[in-house]
């Protein structure tokens, strides 16, 4: 190629290609933000698991997601401790409650997570600094998510009632917000007291197990499940239980399917708008291309020019879209909107956006094929 037709045309007639670049940028933005939201929202279904250490989760057989846990038999912990691969067992008590911040205000349903308040606790190890966790040693103290403060009408140091029992808010944490309501953290003792105020049951909901060798997680889970089948519990590796929770919310609930459906629509809209604008941009030069074709330049060579343009448009749009997404995700973070975007999903989105551009380029080439010389050449 002795004349860089594709690039020169892009630079000189950038106004003509700008709508296509913007279309790519916005479909990229939509895709990236949508993906981050899906991952964030449904990832938060597994927030308890992902924010905790430990290699295995032990729960009621068949439990689909953390908040659906049921009380385990009292001897469960014993069976766990019998396995030589187990290094530590930590109990987790999940209980529901009615929160009233002051007289006259309606109740808010809350979930209370009772955990061991020791500084090296496994549960919520990634969400709670040791100092904050220690505050739970104070009887009847709770920690709430920053984002739930106003909903609960709470302040740090303020008091409220759960199931009629007075508690004090001793701190706020971040990113504890999960799907399906307000989550509070409390010590196991506090959580037990709160539950006793409603009913009398001393059974735990989960146990989190730390192994001597984390690589053995799958094998130990299989071994424990043999005992569990007889004694009424089931073991999952941490990542398996996390996936289980996410896929339950994503695929088994109406909200999850709704969001997935919306993502698919976003994708289709992106493809259609991008290809239409790119085709319009190419169609602007169609009589010039037809002249080249008349002069004997093959359709294959012309297609290469158009695809090169599509690739540049895609790259430019992707860059703009990525910048826009970064801004949008930053804004979301600041407002405690659950978003999460890893390298791999981000790359997948980028590949998809480039594919949309190139696909549109291919579609635009069809304009060339059909608009044949004789009609255009005037």
């Amino acid at each position: 190629m002795i004349v860089a037709l594709a690039r020169k045309t892009l630079v000189h007639e950038w106004r003509r290609f700008l709508p296509a670049v913007m279309a790519v940028a916005f479909s990229g933005l939509l895709l990236l933000v949508q993906t981050a939201l899906v991952l964030g929202v449904f990832g938060s279904a597994a927030v308890f698991i992902d924010k905790s250490q430990g290699d295995l989760w032990i729960g009621y057989p068949g439990t689909q997601s953390v908040e659906l846990g049921r009380a385990l038999p009292l001897d469960t912990e014993l069976w766990l401790r019998l396995d030589p691969a187990v290094a530590r067992v930590e109990a987790f008590l999940w209980t529901d409650g009615d929160w009233r911040s002051h007289a006259g205000q309606g109740a808010v349903s809350v979930s209370v997570s009772g955990i061991a308040p020791r500084t090296d606790g496994l549960l919520f190890a990634y969400a709670l600094p040791a100092e904050l966790r220690e505050r739970l040693n104070q009887p009847d103290s709770v920690i709430i998510d920053r984002a739930d403060l106003s909903k609960l009408g709470a302040t740090v140091g303020g008091r409220a009632r759960i199931n009629g029992r007075q508690v004090q808010v001793v701190g706020v944490a971040q990113q504890l917000r999960a799907l399906g309501g307000v989550n509070l953290l409390a010590s196991l003792d506090t959580a037990r007291h709160l539950r006793d105020a409603a009913d009398n049951d001393s059974r735990m909901t989960y146990y989190v197990v730390k192994l001597h060798d984390p690589a053995q997680a799958e094998a130990v889970a299989a071994r424990l499940n043999v005992a569990g089948a007889r004694h009424g519990f089931q073991a999952w590796s941490r990542s398996e239980f996390s996936r289980r929770a996410v896929s339950f919310w994503m695929l088994e609930t109406g909200a999850g399917l709704g969001v997935l459906f919306m993502s698919a629509v976003v994708c289709v809209v992106g493809v259609v708008i991008t290809s239409q604008t790119l085709m319009a941009a190419v169609a602007g030069s169609v009589s010039e291309y037809a002249t080249l074709h008349a002069l004997g330049v093959g359709l294959r060579e012309l297609r290469r020019v158009v695809l090169e343009q599509a690739a540049w448009v895609g790259a430019g749009g992707l860059l703009l879209g990525a910048l826009g997404s970064a801004g949008a995700l930053l804004l979301a973070r600041q407002h405690d909107v659950p978003v999460a975007l890893g390298l791999l999903p981000g790359l997948a989105c980028a590949v998809l956006v480039m594919a949309i551009s190139l696909f549109s380029g291919v579609a635009a080439v069809r304009v060339l094929r059909h608009a044949d010389a004789a009609t255009l050449l005037r």
């Binding site: 002795i2 020169k8 000189h12 009589s287 004997g296 060579e301 044949d372 010389a373 004789a374 050449l377």
Partner: protein, 246 residues
């Protein structure tokens, strides 16, 4: 060149078309554009096809130029039966042997005059330096050397058409087709363009087929074919045309 008041003898045949038929279908109506048309186009002369609009002259050009398939009939160009070639070979034939000039110039807005002319040469397989020299020669031939660095937006209509002619000429084709090349131009520029086309036929020995309803071009052509209703009505040769400033 010896000037003779007599008509030039028929030139060596560049294109021979036999029994060309073409019709278009719009909705349920078939419109017949060419009805069994046969003709020969000679090398080294400018042949003008004239006639009212809709008489089929542009269709004839695109059939002879290998742009459009006839419904029936044959086109032999430079001894090759065009419509027996595969699409790719036909593209190659056009690349190597034909040039086109159109009413609308069809220049790329982003390229300078020099780049417009160099562009098709790249596809012929020429290297950059050779292509540049050839493009410069072609631009010199249409008197555009001084304006070679300009983009179409900075050129007048006549200048654009001269660049388009240079683009067709630089490939050194034996067949040059021009479809209404002067329609968008004023008298002076139109005159200049047809003169250039005529000179190309003479100096390069190529067959120039020009389609136009512009009567101003008649006395500058070697041969005039008058078309109507898909047929050739008259075929007359002009007394030899004298180049104004050869």
């Amino acid at each position: 060149m010896t000037a003779s008041p007599l008509a030039r003898p028929p030139a060596a045949v560049a294109i021979r078309a036999t029994a060309l038929e073409k019709s278009y279908r719009t909705g349920r109506v078939d419109t017949v554009v060419l009805r069994g048309l046969s003709l020969e186009i000679g090398l080294g002369e400018l042949t003008l096809v004239s006639g009212p609009s809709g008489c089929g002259k542009s269709t004839l050009l695109s059939l002879l130029g290998g742009l459009q398939h006839p419904d029936a009939g044959q086109v032999q160009a430079l001894g090759v039966s065009l419509w027996s070639l595969a699409d790719k070979d036909l593209e190659r034939f056009r690349l190597e042997h034909t040039g086109f000039v159109f009413q609308g110039f069809n220049l790329f807005g982003a390229l300078t005059a020099l780049e417009q002319v160099m562009l098709p040469l790249g596809y012929l397989g020429l290297d950059r330096a050779t292509a540049r020299v050839r493009a410069q020669e072609a631009l010199a031939e249409v008197d555009m050397t001084e304006r070679a660095h300009l983009r179409p937006s900075a050129l007048s209509g006549g200048e654009k058409q001269r660049v388009a002619i240079a683009r067709a000429l630089a490939k050194q084709p034996q067949l040059l087709f021009a479809d209404e090349p002067t329609s968008a131009l004023d008298a002076a520029n139109g005159h200049r363009v047809i003169e250039i086309l005529h000179r190309i036929a003479r100096h390069h020995g190529c067959a120039v087929l020009c389609v136009s309803h512009d009567p101003r071009l008649f006395d500058q052509s070697d041969r005039i074919l008058q078309m109507e209703d898909g047929r050739i009505l008259t075929d007359r040769r002009q007394p030899e045309y004298k180049e104004s400033a050869a």
